[in-house]
Amino acid sequence: MNWRIRLLRPLRKLDPALMTGIVILMLISLAVLYSGSQESIRVVLAQLLRFAVGIVVLVIVANTPPERIRAWAPALYAIGIILLAITLVMGKTSLGARRWLGVGPLVFQPSELMKLALPLFLAYYYSQQENVRHWLSAIAGFVLIAIPFLLIAKEPDLGTAAQIGAAGVFMMWLAGARRRWFVGLIILVAVSGPVLWHFLHGYQKERILTFLDPQRDPLGAGYHIIQSMIAVGSGGFWGKGWFNGTQVNLDFLPEAQTDFVFAGFAEEFGLVGVIVLISTYLLIVLRGLVIAYESRDSFGRLIAGTLSLTFFLYIFINMGMTTGILPVVGVPLPLISYGGTAMLTFMIGLGILMSVHAHPRTHE
């Protein structure tokens, strides 16, 4: 076996459809950031470096058999919970919320780890469960979801808590818990909404009120939404063209490289660009669902199905808030937004999908 084969063999585990999607998103990301950063090579190189690191991690994960990933799930979940608890007690406070944990010069958000740890542990739990339809296994699932959900909601980071909770509920749905639980959950959320309103922080209420009527404070809380919608709408069918987005380049659009990157993209590349972008995302999501469908292993299909669905949820929430159909929550656009932590999480998730696909039915 010569060095070339040795080096290339791990790449055989990569899924061509998913990789195509990732590369397209990468190119879009670099193009948008280059324009939005007043043509800063530094920003583009930094993002490129993150992609490189992300791809390496993805290859490593894709080459790790699912049963080994499965074996780590309980430990990851436990570590995640412990770190969340530590964050609440001694985390770094920034803008009124304790979300960050610092170890020396390193700072990270334990909730980011939980985005993967919870689905993994739930998949671990349900894949070994004999009778998923029994009420006890549903209760167990809700408890496993509730612990990280409440810890993150307490930080407070309601957006992330809701996403993690949603991922858990998806998992229970795919695992086959009885439908009545989901009906009950929907009713509970609908009924408790007005009650929970009183427990929300001022800025959280403000965000929701602003979502309902952005014009109530056009220079304050409503500014993000209004400017973002102007950016998307003014893009039109063909877009204003690369580098020609005035909303982005003249600083009317806040967070143009992170949470609101979609608005800048839509402004410069128009409806045509948006169709390409959404199609690419759907390619990844649907490929993930197909991987889940084809998997003969119950852990594999649960984790693949849930990760695909969660990936879609992130896309929907981000585009939804940018276009004004959802309230503003700080969610990055997967693989496009500037930033490292979230990208690493997405790359690991995609790596797990590929691992599930590349190691068929090794378990049972």
């Binding site: 086959g176 950016a231 709408g233 909303q247 009317f252 669902l289 199905g305 939804g320 276009t323």
Partner: protein
């Protein structure tokens, strides 16, 4: 798990995967419809907004209400000043621009600190102040090179101005820089565009009235940051003018007479409680507070041993000394502790029967046996020692409370002190001590724990001048004054009035006898038991002067139709008649001369 179960399980998973796919399709459709709506259906609308971006609603600051004296003289108004402002998104390079500006006109570290803090919460298209109070030469220097500084402009700024400087410092108070903590929740809109708020005095008391209502204008700015046009939405409403009862001439007379001395002067219209003058010396210039006080000036004001920031007429608590005697006497008449004609033995000193301690008269050798009118005229201490013992501490205290001692007068100024009318209960609660009779004796001549503010003294004096009505002093002009009739017989009041007139014509206040106006008054001397000390207990300015007694004088005039009642305290002024008397006289003359002047001219 058997094969059948496995197949069943996979069938169910597939079914649920289908439901999920349905959900994804639905949400994608919603997203697609929204993007289509924005980019195709409403594209024209958003394209217009983008090119005409953006509409900014900018506040217009209202003018603050003026403060006038009783004749319409302006005591406080808004002046236009010139300031240098930078619009951040129009300036080429902010720190470099400031650096170049510094070569033309001085911009100190304090200016820059303030600029940076203002900058952090301003919109990029809003001008931020860099330098205030540009002098004409600075204006000219910048105007010549203006083209080199895009984004930098001269703007006018409305600024509170007190034309008489320190003259009305304590009564008007001042406005200062608004701090976020001072705006209560829900009042943000009321202070839009405003950067100052009334901090003390009338400015604070009538803040809501004076402040005015901000307006706003829509400013449209294009994508390059140029202002397209502004459209007025609501014009600002100026604050209401505050018509005060103050009299500029009287206040000036008070300040002049107090020059170089520490103390306070209050002049009231005894008929309705109008505050004609209220002066606390030394004073400070409130104009220095308007833009925020410099640290150097603040340190100087704070460390000045004369405590110019202290409002002595409102918060200074002084032993009233012998000025309390007319009120003690009226209480005694009312409580039938004595009759007007009854003579009490005089002498060098007084002793409480059965005790050894001697309470001396201020005059060596004392006075002879005198009746009430004579005792007030001569400020006969021995007479009042006996009166106090006859009344007892409770009756004495209750009597003084009738004149407003020990209570806030209710004047429309924030932070008034109530003074002290002591009682055995009060002494026990406050100091844990037992009252002894000697303290009652001393209270009879206004010494000991009895404390009064100059404003309370003036108010009490007014109640004798007006024939027995307790007025509520007020600075805002108002047609209906609040007065409370006191339960004293006209005869009793007439005796006291005569006695106070005697004190000026032939008693302790003789130095005022030759005044063209008929003045009635009473001198007072408050003994200083301890020197002024600083916080660490060191004696300040260990000179003889600070060990001298406070001089007091209360007066009203004209004696038959009183139109002005005055209380004067000169700290360390020695004998009341000599130092405080002339101040009272100057104030009375200033008022009665101006009031009568128009009639003379006719």
């Amino acid at each position: 798990m058997n094969a059948l179960q496995l197949a069943q399980e996979h069938r169910q998973f597939t079914l649920r995967l289908l439901v999920v796919s349905g959900l994804i399709t639905l949400l994608t459709a919603i997203l697609a419809i929204q993007v289509f709506r924005l980019q195709v259906l409403d594209h024209d609308h958003y394209a217009t907004q983008s090119t005409h971006n953006t509409i900014a609603l900018l506040p217009i600051a209202p003018l603050r209400g003026r403060i006038l004296d009783r004749h319409g003289q302006i005591l406080a108004d808004d002046r236009t000043g010139f300031v240098l402002a930078i619009t951040p998104n129009k300036a080429i390079h902010l720190s470099e621009t400031i650096h170049r500006l510094q070569k033309i006109l001085p911009i100190n570290a304090e200016d820059q600190k303030r600029f940076n803090s203002d900058l952090s919460h301003a919109h990029p298209y809003q001008p931020v102040l860099l330098r205030r109070d540009l002098r004409p030469d600075e204006l000219a220097a910048f105007a010549v090179q203006r083209h080199q500084f895009p984004g930098v402009e001269i703007r006018t700024q409305i600024k509170r101005h007190y034309p008489y400087g320190s003259l009305f410092a304590h009564v008007l108070g001042y406005v200062g820089r608004l701090t976020p903590a001072e705006i209560r929740e829900g009042q943000m809109a009321d202070y839009a565009g405003l950067d100052s708020i009334g901090k003390s005095g009338l400015e604070a008391q009538y803040e809501a009235l004076l402040k005015g209502q901000p307006g706003n204008q829509e400013v449209e700015i294009d994508a390059r940051g140029r202002t397209l046009h502004t459209r007025l939405r609501n014009s600002a409403r100026q604050g209401t003018t505050l018509h005060t009862t103050l009299d500029l001439a009287v206040q000036q007379a008070a300040a002049q007479a107090m020059a170089g001395q520490q103390g306070a002067v209050v002049a009231l219209d005894p008929q309705n409680g109008d505050v004609l003058a209220a002066y606390s010396a030394p004073a400070f210039d409130p104009n220095a507070f308007v833009d925020g006080l410099s640290i150097a000036l603040w340190t100087r004001l704070r460390d000045d041993p004369g405590t110019p920031m202290t409002n002595r007429f409102l918060r200074g608590s002084y032993p009233p000394g012998s000025t309390i005697k007319p009120f003690v006497a009226l209480s005694a008449l009312h409580d039938k502790a004595i009759t007007a004609d009854q003579r009490l033995a005089g002498g060098t000193y007084y002793q409480i029967p059965g005790t050894k301690h001697k309470y001396y008269d201020w005059k060596p050798g004392g006075h002879g046996a005198e009746n009430l009118r004579e005792a007030i005229r001569d400020s006969n201490d021995v007479y009042f020692y006996q009166i106090a013992m006859r009344l007892g501490v409770t009756q004495l205290g209750n009597g003084l409370a009738h004149f407003g001692f020990g209570q806030r007068s209710g004047v429309d100024l924030p932070g008034e002190s109530a003074g002290v009318v002591p009682s055995p209960d009060w002494l026990r609660q406050r100091y844990g001590q037992t009252w002894y009779q000697g303290q009652t004796v001393m209270m009879g001549i206004g010494q000991g724990y009895l404390l009064s503010t100059p404003l309370q003294l003036a108010r009490a004096t007014a109640s004798i001048a007006n024939g027995g009505r307790l007025v509520t002093p007020h600075l805002e002009q108002s047609p209906d004054s609040v007065t409370r009739p006191l339960d004293f017989s006209p005869d009793a009041i007439a005796v006291i009035q005569d006695a106070m007139r005697d004190a000026v014509t032939s008693g302790t206040g003789k130095s005022l006898a030759n005044d063209p106006h008929t003045i009635a008054g009473k001198t007072g001397t408050a003994q200083i038991h301890h020197a002024q000390r600083n916080d660490s207990g060191l004696v300040l300015h260990n000179t003889i002067q600070l060990w001298q007694d406070h001089a007091l004088f209360i007066a009203y005039a004209p004696a038959d139709h009183p139109r002005i009642a005055v209380a004067v305290v000169v700290e360390h002024g020695g004998h009341g008649g000599r130092t405080a008397g002339p101040v009272a006289r100057a104030v009375i003359d200033a008022y009665l001369n101006t009031v009568t002047a128009p009639e003379v001219n006719l």
